[in-house]
Amino acid sequence: MNTSSNPRKRALVIGLILVGSIIVGIFGLRTIRAFREFRGHRPPPPSAAEEIETDVSLIRDWMTIPYISKMYLVPPRILFKALEIPEHKNKEKSLRQLNEEYYPQAKGIVLEKVKATILANPPQPMPTVPDTPVVP
């Protein structure tokens, strides 16, 4: 390819180097930052799979009440009661959606209330449905 004789091809070469350098610069820094954050953590030991989650800082506003309830072993009715929100038709909504719908003036209040409720209510064993019917 004789790029020197074709300004469009020269522009392509310069463009590729420029765009490539920008992407490498931005994402190189972000990768290093993410690696530093990640380096300090190791996968939890296999036994931890059975342990109950207690760290409320892991709660995000995309999560739903039933999901959080199962993750932290706190019954959903306790969380809905604390939020003063009806359980019906709200099970599939994220915390952000609940916040926008019920507390539009107070940004982030649902997330904070859920965290506080979980801290105030220690994990409770959830009712489980037996795999096979129990014969009396």
Binding site: M1, I17, S21, T64, K70, S94
Partner: protein
């Protein structure tokens, strides 16, 4: 976008994941790798079954890739009418046939940003579909079970590994673009 998709996955499970990876394989800009890592964590937490979810994701992503290959294949005729007789087209076609296997495999799980263009080029350049399908399946299995497995391993800490892998994927894409630019620049300098 990814927050909304994550909420839908915890509500509706594997079918939504299947739809996301299928549409993503056809070019929609979904953060599919991060979602697969998150789904691995959901499987560990017991919200989803790992084998059903993994299988659904694998089947859907391979279907999406095959469809984008087909799109490339069916635009082959107009493309050939425009470029088919040129020497450069023949050269590009033979180059893809030489490097096609590696391109298909690596763009499934390492340089995922180039997966859709590679699917389209594979279809347009008449790269054998059987070969494409085989290496696509292999690469996507690494993507689904490898990244999903990382999510499973890290459980509730999946966001840390997700951020690292997502940024690393974009970094490799940048490196590929930069490398292509450097190779063309070297050829340019040599030709002067």
């Amino acid at each position: 976008m990814s927050d909304f998709l994550l909420t839908q996955i915890i509500n509706y499970g594997a079918p939504i994941l299947g739809a996301i990876v299928f549409i993503g394989a056809m070019g929609a800009p979904f953060p599919a790798t991060v979602i697969v890592i998150a789904v691995g964590a959901f499987c560990k937490q017991g919200f989803l079954s790992w084998y059903t979810t993994g299988l659904v994701a694998l089947v859907c992503v391979v279907m999406g890739d095959s469809l984008s290959y087909a799109m490339g294949y069916y635009v082959r005729e107009p493309v050939l009418r425009r470029f088919g007789k040129s020497e450069r087209w023949a050269q590009a076609e033979s180059t893809f046939n030489r490097w096609g296997v590696m391109s298909v495999l690596l763009t499934r799980f390492l340089i995922t940003g180039l997966a859709v263009p590679v699917n389209l080029i594979a279809g347009t350049s008449n790269f054998p579909f059987r070969k494409f399908f085989l290496y696509d399946l292999l690469g996507e299995a690494i993507w689904v079970f490898g990244y999903g497995g990382l999510g499973y391993l890290f459980g509730t800490q999946w966001e840390l590994i997700g951020a690292f892998i997502s940024n690393f994927g974009s970094l490799t894409l940048g490196l590929v673009i930069l490398l292509a630019g450097i190779i063309l620049a070297i050829r340019w300098l040599r030709s002067r």
